[in-house]
């Protein structure tokens, strides 16, 4: 499974957004667009991503840019896993 599909699965499970996760495209806005993505959910999502991809996400990476769109989040994860 590609990183994009893994991120999609994690979003689906963490936010419980069901089929809406399947419709996410790289341009779909996340923060401010998906009501389930509140502060608690962002924190949970970051933890899930860390555990799944075995990465460490710094405070300043929990930023508006990282969670702006689905594509931005996938790019972020891909960069972290490549590092």
């Amino acid at each position: 499974m590609s990183a994009v599909e893994n991120v999609r699965e994690i979003l689906k499970a963490t936010l419980q957004i069901g089929e809406r996760a399947d419709a996410l495209t790289p341009d779909t806005p996340l923060l401010g667009n998906i009501p389930e993505l509140d502060s608690m959910a962002v924190a949970m999502l970051v933890t899930s991503l860390e555990e799944h991809f075995d990465i460490f996400i710094e405070d300043d990476e929990i930023s508006a840019e990282t969670f702006e769109t689905f594509g931005a989040l996938c790019d972020f994860v891909e960069e972290k896993t490549a590092a």
């Binding site: 699965e9 963490t14 509140d38 502060s39 075995d54 405070d59 508006a64 969670f67």
Partner: protein, 291 residues
């Protein structure tokens, strides 16, 4: 279900005893160690369903609200790790006063640290730990909790609801928040007041560093929604550590939802099945009850 109040060191606590079902032989009692803050709210449905599953196997289950939580007295801000340890000791004493004795401690997430700490201090209390998705490192757990504040600051910045001058209200990072705790400040995170007396002991804790009596049996239930997960590295490390100490420790990999983190309640049926199976297989109960 038998709800009741009882006195502990810091105030009155709420307890709820689920007796074993009448038509089976009573095998002893299981004491539940609750998780932290929002994780408890999100887990109550699963806790009571597992409690009833244990009842049908002949086990009574005692659930308690720790001081400052649920229907018990006090607030999070007034609570401390030491108070919680004494609360759970008092809950054990309550079972003993009912002419019973806890034969297993069942814990969810950070409740596992509380259970292990209690066994270390009072090794005669119970010698079987059933750990649901236990927190193995207190430090990582607190860092994850502090992140909710970082995420909340992010949401405020994004939606423009943040008041005042940005430079004056620079969001706090994990390091800043840890420093505040060390200076004796209580932090407010997602509506919970986290006092240093709770956070600082947790920061130092590691599940495998507790000295458990040699007869302790540990069942670790590793819950992951992924198909390919297997046993997580954290669980594997812990089990190896316990084996080195000569303890009987087993990891169970369960493919299921991480219900304690979900906003909408979901059932983790595989987890209940796997946990019940472990207690059903405890045929030689005298072995456990006598240690």
């Amino acid at each position: 279900m038998q709800p009741f109040f009882f006195n502990s060191t810091a105030g009155q606590l709420f307890g709820n005893y689920f007796p074993a079902t009448d038509d089976c032989e009573a095998k002893g009692d299981i004491l539940f160690f609750p998780p932290f803050a929002e994780e408890l709210n999100r887990s109550r449905h699963m806790i009571s369903r597992q409690a009833r599953a244990f009842n049908r196997l002949g086990y009574g289950v005692l659930l308690v609200d720790l001081f400052g939580t649920g229907d018990s007295a006090g607030s999070y801000a007034e609570s401390s790790w030491e108070i919680w340890i004494q609360d759970m000791k008092t809950a054990c004493d309550w079972l003993v006063n009912q002419k019973s004795r806890p034969i297993a401690f069942w814990a969810l997430r950070s409740g596992a640290l509380l259970a292990a700490d209690l066994v270390q201090r009072y090794p005669q209390l119970a010698c079987h730990l059933l750990l649901w998705a236990p927190v193995s490192q207190g430090k990582a757990f607190i860092a994850q909790f502090l992140r909710i504040k970082i995420a909340a600051d992010l949401a405020e910045t994004t939606t423009g609801t943040k008041d005042g001058d940005e430079t004056e209200n620079a969001p706090l990072g994990t390091r800043d928040m840890l420093a505040l705790l060390h200076q004796g400040h209580t932090l407010e995170i997602a509506g919970y007041h986290l006092p240093p007396a709770l956070a600082l002991p947790l920061l130092e804790m590691s599940l495998t560093s507790f000295a458990l009596p040699p007869e302790t049996r540990i069942d670790w239930f590793d819950v992951s929604p992924s198909h390919t997960a297997g046993i997580s590295p954290a669980a594997r490390r812990a089990i190896e550590g316990w084996h080195k100490q000569g303890l009987d420790a087993t990891a169970h990999s369960v493919k299921d939802v991480q219900f304690w983190a979900l906003q909408e309640p979901e059932w983790a049926k595989n987890l209940i099945e796997e946990t019940s199976k472990v207690m059903m297989e405890m045929t030689d109960l005298s072995e456990v009850a006598s240690c």
